[in-house]
């Protein structure tokens, strides 16, 4: 689903290397966890996969489409949940969701079904007619999650999705991630919550200082390092 080959990205005219010759393959139907300490390059990598940031070198293909040369087709396969809650805070929740459905070309029948489904699932149906600026952090996060899922994306990318979610919503999100993969779709997400990554992910990668330092299933990682993901993480990122 995602093929990242020798991707590099620098900021400040090359003085800060955020991602350094990174290569990674994410298969169809798996939940892929992307871990790393703060400033390791997770968000930069996610923004490059989603076509928000251009690549300095290398290539990224999503669902067979090169993000640089065929960005529209690649983005059509993606549902992005960024690490920021910056959205149109003077729209109502339902206006935002209708906007997302329009942008991703979701038909009327599907939009009614999915909007209703996700509003109920994330328990924000009562707030759907309110302005987004009146939402709590968690409610905004839920709305963005719903917006990213409306077009049943083949690749669901989530940057720190658990931030601000209550335990019930976090649980529902994990369930939804699994359900998404069961349909043959892929989930790629970054998190700091190692327990979540350990329980949910089929495979995961650890990035540090812009480079992938470990990749594989939990079993594969355990063979090389400690017993728990926390000990593996701490050992590798020291």
């Amino acid at each position: 689903m995602i093929s990242i080959k020798n991707v590099s990205k620098s900021y400040s005219k090359g003085t800060v290397k955020a991602v350094d010759d990174l290569s990674l393959e994410v298969k169809n139907g798996e939940i892929f966890g992307f871990l790393g300490p703060n400033g390791a390059g997770k968000t930069t990598t996610i923004k490059m996969i989603a076509g928000v940031l251009p690549l300095d070198s290398g290539s990224i293909t999503v669902n067979g489409f090169d993000i640089a040369s065929s960005p529209i087709q690649a983005k059509q396969s993606i549902g992005l949940v960024p690490d920021t809650n910056d959205i149109y805070d003077r729209l109502t929740g339902i206006e935002y969701l209708n906007f997302m459905a329009d942008i991703y070309g979701v038909g009327k029948t599907e939009r009614i079904e999915f909007i209703d489904k996700y509003l109920i699932m994330f328990e924000i149906k009562d707030a759907a007619k309110e302005l987004i600026r009146t939402y709590s952090h968690g409610m905004k996060q839920k709305l963005i999650l719903a917006g990213a899922l409306l077009h049943s994306p083949q690749l669901w990318i989530l940057d720190e999705p658990m931030t601000g979610l209550d335990p019930k919503s976090a649980h529902q999100l994990k369930e939804e991630m699994r359900a998404h993969c069961d349909k043959g779709f892929t989930v790629f997400f970054s998190t700091h919550v190692l327990e979540v990554a350990e329980k949910v992910c089929d495979r995961l990668a650890i990035i540090n200082k812009g480079k992938i330092i470990a990749v594989g299933s939990m079993e594969e990682l355990r063979q090389n390092s400690g017993e728990t993901l926390e000990s593996i993480f701490l050992e590798l990122t020291e």
Partner: protein, 554 residues
Amino acid sequence: MKEFLTLFKFQFRSQYGISLLKNNFKKGNKKSAKVIGIGLIITLALVQMVGLYTYILLQVFPASKILGAPELILAVGALLAGVFILIFGVFYILSGIFYAKDSEFLSTLPVHQESVFASKFALVMIGEYPFVLTILAPPVIIYGINMNCGILYYILALACGVVLPIIPLAIAALFALVLMNIVSRLKHRDLVVSIMGIIGFVAIFVGNNLIVSRFANKDVASSMSNIIESMKELISKIEQGFLPTKWITNILSGSGIDVLLNLIILLGVSAVALFIVIVLSRFIYQRGMRAQFESLKSASKKPLRFNASSPVVSVLKNEMKMILRTPIYALNSFAGWVMGPLVILMPTLTGALRNKDISILLTSINNRDKTYIFLIITGLLTFFGLVNPAASSAVSREGGGIWLLMSSPLQPRQYIFGKLLGDYFISFGAVVISGILLAVVSGLDFLTIFMPILAAAFISYPMAVSGMLVDVIRPKLVWANPQEVIKQNLNVVLGMFTALLVVGVVGTVAVLLAVFQAGYLLTVISIFALIALLSVILHNILMKTADRKFQGGI
């Protein structure tokens, strides 16, 4: 005081990007050089306007000196600066103090609310000084040189310039404090603020014009001495309504105890005005400011609406909603919708001109040459379409939410076109509303008024495209309050210049055609053809630039 200073320093550094600029300079960042370069270009452009203003003052000064009123130019400068700050101050105060992005953060700090208010008031005031300097410096220098004034005069002028914005901004702040406190109890707050803001603007505008109309009704001879006499009369009338002008003029042109007395009055009244506003803010600022964060539960039982639109139409609808629901965007973008009708109606409302007069005036020109009447009305209506910063701030207004457009599977040109249509519609509306009103007021026949409306509406498109092009090339995505995207955004100024460039190209060709008596039909067809050509060229440049910039990560 310490609290105020800490808050002020923190916000000043943040708002004016001092730390960022320092950092960029240390690293030799090209961005700083770019900002400075653009600033210089704008300064050069402004120098021309200030040059024209200075030229007029230089013409007025000798005549006013002969008539025994050399201080007239000082009164003009103080009056212009004071009245403009008063008229637009309400918008600046609303956005700078009540709609700032950091209001919520600041309200969590263990500081007194009047300190927060005062620090934000000071920030707004500092933002006015470049304007005060531009307007006040030319008359002060002309008067000072010609009257052989000493150093004390310049020190007093500096003091007057520093104090000048306090009273008008304090009046604007009082209005804003009361308004926000009232609307904090209402449901549709943003709408009420927008409407009340427009009413306030209209009231001050009409008030000023009513004073001017009294002057306009008098017989005004064309000789310089009569003009000066009339100006004196007009200024003295306005001074009665805005006394700081009188005090400043007296300070700078008077002598002895008169100077001291007026200085004490100016400083005293400014201090009292400031004190009243700060004290009032202690009681009602936080309520008004916090209202925007409070959740409003809708009582509506209507079912959710799942309206589907094409992506471009959806972006257009979104753009309009965002503008209409953000008072600062609405007030600035729709200014032409209010200004146009006001400018057209004002001469008849104030009795300066009667409908019959306008009709006779226009018909007399019309009989001589239809081309001129076409050009004059087109020019007037085009101006109402010009005063719309929506297109030149379209991308900047996305701010941190730009990720949504950048990660969407739309061609950048699609959502840029959607936004462009929305922003163009605002200019189009200003032109059409003003044009229809002009038709009603003037009583001109349908075809005579229809062609200029069409031409002005048509030219508003390449104007909007050129403005948006500037914002696509260098969007300002980091800002703390909506006012920053409009008032402190170079793109809005540059957008106006590019729009004026479009008008200049079309206008030059139009005037040449009229001078060489190309005939009405040929002139009209040529102008429409030229606008169409400019539209196609600029539209293509905009779309290609949008694709390139968005795919390049902006």
